[in-house]
């Protein structure tokens, strides 16, 4: 025990003073009696023994001395020190990857892991702290270091195994950052040992303790499901599905792929241990919707027995070309799959909103546009009536100085050889910025706001050799992707569980309703386009609804490493299951003054009661 303020013991000088005062107070009055023998009998009967009698007589003094002792001890701030040699603070890494849903005779692996974690918590000595990290796709700190066992228990109990592959590597690195190399802290991993990507980490030196959860070894899973459009057919899709046997014995696996009520594929696969089989099939014609691949086996890991895919209608981009006819531009747009072009000589400000609803991109070629506030625009050899695109005449044969090759518009676009005869002298101001700098002008400048995407090409295509170069179709493709990126993603509609997913809306929306695979619906506020959905945690089909717009998202596990619930090289090079003793005893402290104060209050109460009784 330590005394933080030993000078407080000077207060013990009060005790002699108390005794003196008590002696003065206890001066007895002499009374002459004729019945002393009776009084002695009374005293014997009342007090039993002389010692007890004296004790009772001096009880107030004893209580007061005890009170002074307690107060003095409390003011001296005692702290209890106790050795904690056999214990360390614990960083608990609990595997919440999908493989923890594997079935064992005693329950799921995750349920066993939770029990193990709670046992570990119960064994945590007083004064020791624990932090909990959930090792899912992204490691998540559930609780930082705390002694509050109720809080830790609640946190551990509330955890659920995810449908996503785990990332034990990141979780361990995070846990090790907590320990900071301290010998007073240790990392305890509770999981099934199926942790890929740990090979390059030298974890043995960190003494990580691994509590392995056993059980469940039979699994056959769908590890790949993909759809892609057939290049030479507008509506057909190719389907690829891979099934792998992760068990140690051969399996007969009935496989069926359906699209709504239509059967796209039905096979019975004979899979040897470790064997995988990939099937490719064509999905014909106009069938669209959510496809489901399913294998009918009773194995220990059911999550990968189903996979989902979305066959969406091919996205079409409507482009309105306003102004002068341009051979290169029209040919290029017409040749681009999924792009439909209309040509008009001019657009008024009144007609602009209606045209924006019907077209995803408006190209003004040499024609001044009306004021532009929202929509996607490409202006060629013209500028909008906007102060941010100040024009000061023309520039002849401007030499290109630099361009921003990182911008989506200029990816893979080479301007080094492009020659321009005459260009507008544009000075982008404010939010507008130059992407291609030339002498005296910005040959390409852009303005990006949440509602407006505007690219200004400051020269006539026919006054340059730009249309003749490879950079031109690449640039136009970039423009189409820039103004409508969902066109590229529409066929996908499929992610791995736990991944974020961008949702694109053709029209601006403020709210979207999301229906999860269990059918529960929840509204989200849309903050941009695309809007990132980050809660695709469960395998199944998510449905997004915003007004009349509807999107499907298929969420799958599709991870061969995660489906391999009993890998041959299961136990990673981690430390032993038993805690290692510390080389030297360490001491933990606990303040004692609250107990002393409580005792003093109790003594004070007792003194008051004695005073009341004797008064």
């Amino acid at each position: 025990m330590l005394w933080l303020y030993p000078t407080a013991f000077a207060l013990l000088a009060l005790i002699p003073l108390l005794i003196i005062l008590h002696t003065l107070r206890r001066r007895r009055r002499d009374v002459q009696v004729s019945t002393l023998f009776l009084w002695e009998s009374v005293a014997r009967e009342a007090h039993g023994t002389l010692g007890f009698h004296r004790l009772v007589q001096n009880l107030p003094l004893l209580l007061q001395i005890l009170l002074v002792l307690l107060l003095t001890a409390g003011l001296a701030r005692p702290v209890r020190t106790y050795p904690v040699a056999a214990s360390k603070d614990v960083v608990l890494v609990l595997d919440v990857s999908a493989s923890m849903q594997a079935r064992t005779p005693q329950g799921t692996r995750f349920a066993l892991a939770q029990q193990q974690a709670l046992r570990l918590l119960d064994q945590l000595p007083h004064g020791r702290q624990m932090a909990v990290i959930a090792a899912g796709r992204q490691p998540r700190v559930v609780t930082f270091f705390t002694e509050d066992k109720a809080l830790l228990r609640q946190a551990i109990t509330a955890l659920r195994a995810s449908d996503a592959p785990g990332n034990m590597r990141e979780a361990l690195l995070l846990a090790l950052s907590f320990t900071q190399g301290s010998s007073r802290r240790e990392v305890v991993v509770i999981g099934d040992g199926a942790y890929p990507h740990l090979g390059d980490l030298d974890l043995r030196q960190h003494g990580i303790r691994h509590l392995r959860i056993e059980g469940g070894d039979t699994n056959v899973g769908i590890t790949r499901l993909a759809f892609r459009k057939v290049l030479d057919a507008d509506t057909d899709y190719e389907m690829l599905v891979t099934v792998q046997n992760f068990s140690a014995h051969p399996m007969t696996v009935p496989l069926r792929v359906t699209l709504w009520r239509y059967r796209l594929l039905e096979r019975v696969l004979q899979l040897a241990p470790g064997q995988q089989e990939t099937l490719v099939a064509t999905v014909a014609a106009e069938r669209r919707g959510v496809a489901t691949a399913e294998i009918e086996v009773d194995d220990d890991f059911a999550l990968d027995n189903r996979a989902y895919g979305v066959l969406a209608a091919p996205a079409q981009t409507w482009v309105l070309l306003v102004g002068e006819s341009n051979f290169f531009l029209e040919k290029l747009l017409a040749a681009t799959p999924g792009v439909l072009v209309n040509v008009v000589p001019g657009v008024t400000a009144e007609a602009l909103p209606r045209l924006l609803e019907a077209n995803q991109l408006l190209i003004f070629n040499g024609v001044p546009p009306p004021p532009l506030h929202q929509g996607n625009f490409l202006l060629i050899n013209t500028v909008p009536p906007d102060a941010r695109f100040a024009t000061v005449g023309q520039v002849r044969k401007p030499r290109i100085l630099d361009w921003d090759s990182q911008h989506p518009l200029l990816q893979f676009v080479d301007f080094s050889e492009v020659q321009v005869e005459r260009a507008l002298a544009i000075r982008p101001q404010g939010e507008a910025r130059s992407l291609v700098d030339a002498e005296g002008t910005a040959l390409l400048s852009v303005l990006e706001t949440p509602s407006l995407r505007l690219a200004v090409l400051g020269f006539d295509l026919l006054q340059s050799d730009f249309p003749l170069r490879v950079a031109f179709p690449v640039f136009m493709r970039n423009v189409l992707r820039w103004v409508r990126p969902q066109q590229e993603e529409a066929a996908a509609g499929q992610i791995q569980a736990g991944m974020p997913y961008p949702v694109f809306f053709d029209l601006p929306v403020r709210q979207v309703e999301v229906q999860d695979p269990q059918g529960k619906r929840r509204d989200y506020t849309v903050s941009g386009n695309p809007w990132w959905f980050t809660e695709a945690e469960r395998v199944g089909v998510y449905i997004f609804r915003a007004g009349e717009q509807k999107r499907y998202l298929a969420v799958n596990l599709l991870d061969a490493a995660e489906s391999d619930i009993n890998p041959a090289n299961k136990v990673p090079p981690l430390g032993p299951e038993k805690a290692s003793a510390l080389p030297h005893d360490s001491m933990a402290t606990a303040p004692l003054w609250p107990y002393l104060l409580l005792g003093a209050v109790g003594i004070l109460l007792g003194e008051w009661l004695v005073w009341c009784r004797q008064g």
Partner: protein, 293 residues
């Protein structure tokens, strides 16, 4: 001197009282007391069977003629009564308001006065742990002054040893009679052997137990040092309500034991306190007893 103990009015009241004894006592001269002791006397009392050795002169021959059996006449002898006034003068009698000794000697003087007026022999002796100088039994009203002087001169000294002094008195006294023991009976050594000695010596014993109200209900509390008034022993106590209740219980038990003992030994017992006025004590309490009529 006598006037400090009794006023004239009180003395006149006492003259109307008569002492009676339940037993007959031997007496050298006939007195005003009738004793049931059978013997030579002036007044026929009863018959009894003849026993060998009886005086032939008292055989009733008329009865023998009718019944053919021998009976002798029995006469009641009127004998004078000797009153022994034993007054406790130990230190404990000093306590009280008024002091117990004052009450005791007034009561003793009153009884002696009454006895002398009834032509009884009255003697007195003070005692503490030893017998004091006795006033021998005397007859006649002329002895009243000496009796009062004797009581006037008493003072409290020494401890109490009832067993010893009463036994000694019973042994040394040549004439039995009525022994009036006036004491507080607070003797750690006990009182039984002394009172028994008086009874065995054929005394008629009247025990007047004189207690001060402060001894029945002590007026002190808290931290006190109790000092034995007759010795050097002391006891430190913190007197509280519980201890006072226990004391009352002990005192009641003590009184009950004394009273029961007296009843067993045919000792008349009378307990009074100094709070009772002296006149009331004599005129009321003694009238309720057996000795006044």
């Amino acid at each position: 001197m006598a006037s400090t103990l009794f006023d004239a009015d009180f003395l006149r009241k006492l003259e109307t009282l008569r002492l009676l004894a339940r037993r007959a006592f031997r007496s050298r001269q006939p007195g005003e007391q009738r004793t049931p002791r059978r013997g030579l006397s002036l007044e026929f009392s009863d018959y009894r069977r003849y026993d060998p050795g009886d005086d032939f002169r008292y055989i009733d021959w008329n009865v023998y003629g009718r019944l053919d059996r021998l009976f002798v006449k029995v006469f009641t002898a009127e004998e004078d009564l000797t009153v022994h006034l034993l007054v406790d003068t130990s230190q404990s009698m000093r306590l009280g308001q008024p002091p117990k000794l004052d009450v005791a000697r007034r009561v003793a003087a009153a009884l002696g006065y009454i006895g002398l007026h009834a032509l009884d022999r009255v003697g007195a002796v003070a005692f503490a742990d030893e017998l004091g100088t006795p006033l021998p039994p005397q007859r006649g009203k002329a002895q009243i002054l000496a009796l009062l002087r004797y009581f006037e001169a008493l003072s409290c000294e020494g401890g109490t040893d009832l067993n010893r002094v009463l036994s000694t008195y019973a042994r040394q006294s040549g004439r039995a009679g009525l022994a009036v023991v006036i004491s507080d009976f607070f003797d750690a050594g006990g009182y039984k052997r002394g009172l028994e000695a008086l009874v065995m010596a054929r005394f008629d014993v009247l025990a007047i137990h004189l207690v001060d109200p402060a001894e029945i209900a002590p007026r002190f509390s808290g931290a006190v040092r109790l000092c034995d008034i007759e010795g050097t022993r002391q006891r430190k106590l913190t007197v509280n309500r519980r201890l006072l209740e226990l004391y009352h219980q002990k005192l009641a038990d003590y009184f009950a034991q004394l009273e029961a003992f007296c009843a067993q030994r045919h000792i008349e017992y009378l307990r009074t306190t100094t709070a009772v006025p002296f006149e009331d004590l004599v005129l009321r309490y003694l009238r309720r007893g057996f000795y006044l009529h």
